[in-house]
Amino acid sequence: MSAAPTAYRPLNPRRILVLARHTFTQLVRMKVFYFLAVFAVVVIGANFLELPTDHLPENAGTEILYTVKNTSLGCMSIFSLVLAIVATGLLLPKDVEDRTLYTILAKPVPRLDYLIGKWLGVVALIFVSLMAMTLLMNLVLIPHTSKVMQLQISAAEFAGASAETKAKIAEDVRALGPTWNLQAAVLVTFMRAMVLAAVALLLSTFSTSTLFTAIVGFLILFIGFFQADAREIYFGKDSGLAGKAASGIMTVILPDLQVYNLIDAIVEGKFLKAFDLLKVIGITAFYCVTYLFASWLVFARKEF
């Protein structure tokens, strides 16, 4: 038995990139980027949500930094999750409907490359969108952070604060601004969307309806947020057999999306260590490989 020609071998990067680029273009034509305008309006609007509060002079202005970060990351999360589920769920049925799928599969394109290409296209779109949103968020945060810094340092100087105190104040304000930690929160948002896109891809391999994929995708998203709690039940000593079985099945099959909820802690100013970020990257890679592989298993011999 002779080996398959190189062109037929799966995981050809060039072929995957062509498919990803095509998917990206296909989604861009669906005017997905219009969301960026909405995002800009929301972030700029958040600029003006400064309410009268109990501010000591040395504490002035921090509220607006929280508001801008919260609204920005909130919009990013919603956008990336919706796009990951809906766009991915839409692609396969649309390719079948447009008969593009037949044209592609009639050529020497391994189905694994097709799936990865599609997934990468969606992921690339989410990435580009998140980058644009992050840029806008940082552009809004930078002047606010320097303004807050100036206010607080002036107040500290007026109060005769020592250089150490001023340095600590500056450090605290900087932690609320556009830090690398905040960019890590965007990365975590992106990774969660990657996992969900992989799940949606798996769903769309055995579903021909976008609606079904979207509904089930959102259900999985919702359940994913309870996964850590379900695992606690599974590992808990007081849990009954039925509880253990239900939580075990749920935990084993569905992704744990609670691990991506680090965003909250980052917004509050907690520092995410590089090693912890690596752990999240590792989990994400594991999920993506698992769900893409399962998608391929279902899709590889599927007849259209």
Binding site: N59, R192, I283, A300
Partner: protein, 413 residues
């Protein structure tokens, strides 16, 4: 078809095996993240109920801080409508969602212990006085408990500790100087503490009957630090030194601490006259009584020299505003000097009137000053101001002939 079913089963198997492999790893990572405070525990049921389905769903997705921001806006709406229960409930929920954001604890306690309490203090709801007072107390306690919980969850937040210290030493709230001193001590020991936090610790200690005797070493230390020349701290230093050594000469001590007599008098006067501060005043009155005599003599002497008008004005101002400053002839002398320094000054009569409780006292002071022909003090604008005051009051205008002229110098009480 059979092959496809087999492949679907295989996919399920892959998912199950992968799930079994990752489950303990994820469990360990989640625990680690929770211990580090990077991940939060599930929201309590009552918080979920308060949030409603929509916000619970959003808060589940790592967007608790976003929900907290939205609720902060909602709390502000309650505040505008003076719906204090709504404010309290919303802040309780907010801090469940973002327990490490000091800003929410700070703002929530301010809403309850200050705004809601002031609302009932002013009795805008027209309750019976006893009920309004009870409501005010209830809100102060609620705000205090809220902030106490905030510092419990954020023990490294100097600002929250300082807020708690301020709340305990606020005389319009429920005062506990011991707790206030302890809170300011915690605040001042943390990185990022402002210099005032340590000073406020000293003030709280000085107000506490239990801690006052331990305050002097701290005050002496603070006097050497940045902000050590703050007037209240210097005065407290003086009072505590006299308290610790009652036999020492207050005037000499005052001059040694403040630098000179005029400064000592000015700063100690302000300190002494702030009767509600609750700070110790050991030796202050004695020092002021002793300091005022030479200062007044010097002021009167300089006031008689028209070339020293500007020089004497500051001293007369200090004497007038300070301890014993309302006694004649200081107010009228100050008026004459103020007019001499600025002949075009607006409404000197109104300014003069503002220094007295009643217009009759002002008129009487001016008449006495005007009638003392032997004093040699400046008379700039005195006639005009007296005329204006007499015109605007119901008192009969005295004729110059009727004015008593005892030939004695003005009273120096």
């Amino acid at each position: 078809m059979k092959s496809q079913s087999r492949r679907i089963l295989l996919a399920c198997l892959v998912l199950i095996v992968a799930g079994i492999v990752r489950m303990p790893v994820e469990h360990a990572i989640t625990r680690d993240f929770r211990e580090q405070g990077l991940l939060k525990e599930a929201l309590p049921l009552d918080t979920r109920r308060k949030l409603g389905q929509g916000l619970v769903a959003v808060s589940l997705g790592g967007l608790r801080s976003l929900v907290a921001s939205m609720l902060h806006l909602r709390a502000y709406g309650f505040f505008e409508n003076r719906r204090w229960d709504g404010v309290a409930e919303t802040y309780d929920t907010i801090v469940q969602l973002a327990p490490n954001t000091g800003f929410y604890w700070d703002n929530g306690h301010w809403m309850m212990a200050y705004n809601a309490a002031a609302h009932h203090d002013n009795n805008y709801d027209n309750f019976a006085p006893a009920r309004a007072a009870a409501e005010k107390r209830r809100w102060i306690l609620k705000g205090t408990r809220f902030l106490e919980e905030g510092v419990r969850l954020n023990p490294d937040n100097a600002r929250l500790w300082a807020e708690l210290g301020s709340l305990y030493s606020n005389r319009f709230k429920i005062v506990d100087y011991d707790k206030s001193a302890a809170a300011f001590a915690r605040a001042s020991a943390l990185p990022g503490a402002m210099p005032y936090m340590a000073r406020f610790q000293a003030y709280a200690m000085a107000r506490s009957p239990r801690l006052i005797d331990q305050a002097l070493p701290l005050v002496r230390e603070l006097r050497q630090r940045t902000g050590g020349s703050v007037p209240t701290l210097i005065c407290l230093h003086f009072a505590l030194e006299v308290r610790a050594n009652p036999a020492i000469d207050p005037v000499r001590t005052a001059v040694a601490i403040f630098g000179d007599e005029a400064k000592a008098f000015r700063i100690l006067s302000d300190y002494y006259l702030d009767a509600e501060s609750g700070l110790p005043v050991d030796g202050v009155e004695t020092a002021l009584e002793a300091l005022i005599v030479p200062l007044r003599d010097r002021a009167f002497q300089l006031a008689r020299d028209p070339s020293k008008t500007t020089e004497v004005l500051d001293l007369v101002r200090d004497l007038h505003q300070g301890f014993g400053g309302s006694s004649a002839p200081l107010p009228a002398l100050r008026l004459a000097l103020e007019i001499a320094a600025d002949p075009t000054m607006a409404a000197p009569d109104e300014m003069f009137l503002s220094w007295f409780d009643r217009p009759e006292q002002a008129i009487e002071a001016l008449r006495l000053y005007q009638d003392d022909k032997t004093s040699g003090f400046p008379m700039n604008g005195i006639d005009e101001v007296l005329r204006k005051l007499e015109q605007s009051s119901s008192l009969p205008q005295e004729s110059p002939a009727a004015a008593p002229d005892t030939g004695e110098p003005p009273s120096d009480r």
